[in-house]
Amino acid sequence: MFQLLSIPANWLIQAGLSLGLVAVYTLLAVYAERKVSAFIQDRLGPMETGPFGIFQTFADVLKLVVKELIVPSAANRVMFVLAPAIIFISVFAAFGALPLSAEPAETAMNVGLLYILAVLSIDIMGLLMAGWGSNNKYALLGSARSVAQIISYEVPTSLALLSAIMMFGTLNMQEIAIDQGIYSSEKLQLLGIWDTAAIGGLTSWAIVRYPHLLIAFLVYLIAGLAECNRAPFDLPEAESELVSGYHVEYGGFRFALMMLSEYGKMLIVGIIASIIFLGAWNTPLPNIGAAELATWTSGAPGTIAGTLWGSFWLLFKSLFIVFIFIWVRWAYPRIRVDQLMTLCWKYLTPAGFALFLISGVWKLIEVYLMLNV
């Protein structure tokens, strides 16, 4: 029986760690965003606050937290106040099920990925509430666009993830992670022929073992970019037309929460992509004969070394994906609404279905071989 007062200490640790991770990551991600955009545009970016402007976002957040919370008189008070909380909670709750390393074991939910996708889509409710509750035409248009976009792109996202999930045969994020490294107890077959369980590293990653998942990875990256409402899919924010979309009426801490969840969502997409496709918390370096690079750069699950190496590799991979997102934002122009829908329904969704089919056939052949050999 679930009793409120007997929450295990581990859960609280996981919650605290996630909150700290999201907060620190957001501060640095906003700084990185500004620096990367500056370098790409041959500028210097923030330089005044601290060495190389490193404290700029701290100062910005401090300012946001100190500001007065204003609710417009025409707004629907309940919805307006509740919206940022719902957005933040839905994003934050998803972090609870993401295994940063083999520990803590609480992340090993048997419905892990389903839970994350489900919890993340509550975020749409918050966006709609923010847009509707603001009683502002720009906010309403922004949130309508945002919701239409996120719901559309949920389809290719789910299909791409599903085609990977089929190959692993589990929704448990922790099992998926273990299945892609040297600590797997099962046979890991590269292209269905070569057992790479002892070699580990790159060769045991999902996108290498099942090459069609490379396309699934790309589909997921594009759809994930759209789900984060980031450029080139930032129609809901469209600074030039919609001021800034659904959060135009927000200021102070409520705005900070929305910003936090936006960047948090980016990290979640990065973490999910690294867990499902890029070998989760496993090292990319393989064991080559006597040079056991994989064993040297990872620790057994449950040990402190395992936790540290695991967190390092997973964050390294996910932050690299976040960097790609930032890079893409400053390289591409925004696409039109019709192009957005064309991309989703005419290209990504059929690709998702095709991958789904390939995964199914692959599994069938595997089962057939298993029964007949």
Partner: protein, 203 residues
């Protein structure tokens, strides 16, 4: 666009997206190298055009040529108080007051005789439009533009630059002297004052 095949379009999108990333990546990997801020008259002016364009302003400045035309400066010793600058100024930012000198004021550096005392020569730089007309009409070239351009102030009154040559006390003394000489040497034909025009008595 719709004429091309479905897969050809996908391939084309990927190649063009890759091109886009290839354009921005080299800029990123320069990691915000600052350029040397050189004046336009230097030979290497265009030498590091590919580096960051940011000028961290108060710490770094682009060198200006010596004939930069920004804040006005007036050399009071050389002014003959001809009032030309005040009259040509399109925004009326120059205020000049002068009266006849009682003593010999000497010559300006270009040899013009100075005959007028200059108690007030105020330039309101907040109004100035930097057209430079005043410097062109100045006969003794005492009014010039300098290359100082950063002189913001917290109080608007500080924008009024006082170039007058006399303090209020000195001015009072000189004016009193002038009054004395006026009364001392009476011009010819001066008698009891007569009005030049007869005004009609008020009804």
């Amino acid at each position: 666009m719709a004429e091309e095949g479905y897969f050809k379009q996908i391939g084309k999108s990927f190649t063009s997206l890759w091109e886009g990333l290839k354009v921005t990546a080299p800029h990123f990997f320069k990691f915000g190298k600052s350029r040397q801020h050189r004046g336009i008259d230097e030979d290497e002016y265009f030498s590091d055009a590919d580096k960051a364009v940011t000028i961290q302003y108060p710490m770094e400045r682009i060198p200006l040529p010596d004939n930069g035309r920004y804040r006005l400066h007036m050399e009071g010793e050389d002014c003959i108080a001809c009032d030309k600058c005040a009259r040509i100024c399109p925004v009326d930012c120059i205020t000049i007051e002068s009266f006849k000198a009682t003593e010999d004021l000497g010559y300006t550096s270009d040899g013009s005789r100075k005959r007028l005392e200059l108690p007030v020569f105020d330039i309101d730089m907040a109004k100035c439009c930097y057209c430079g007309l005043c410097t062109t009409v100045c006969p003794t070239e005492c009014l010039t533009m300098t290359k100082v351009y950063d002189y913001s102030e917290f109080n608007r009154d500080n924008f009024i630059y006082h170039f007058g040559m006399l303090s209020p006390e000195e001015e009072a003394i000189k004016r009193a002297e002038l009054e004395k000489t006026k009364t001392a040497k009476k011009p010819l034909g001066s008698g009891p004052k007569k009005p030049l025009l007869k005004t009609k008595p008020k009804a």
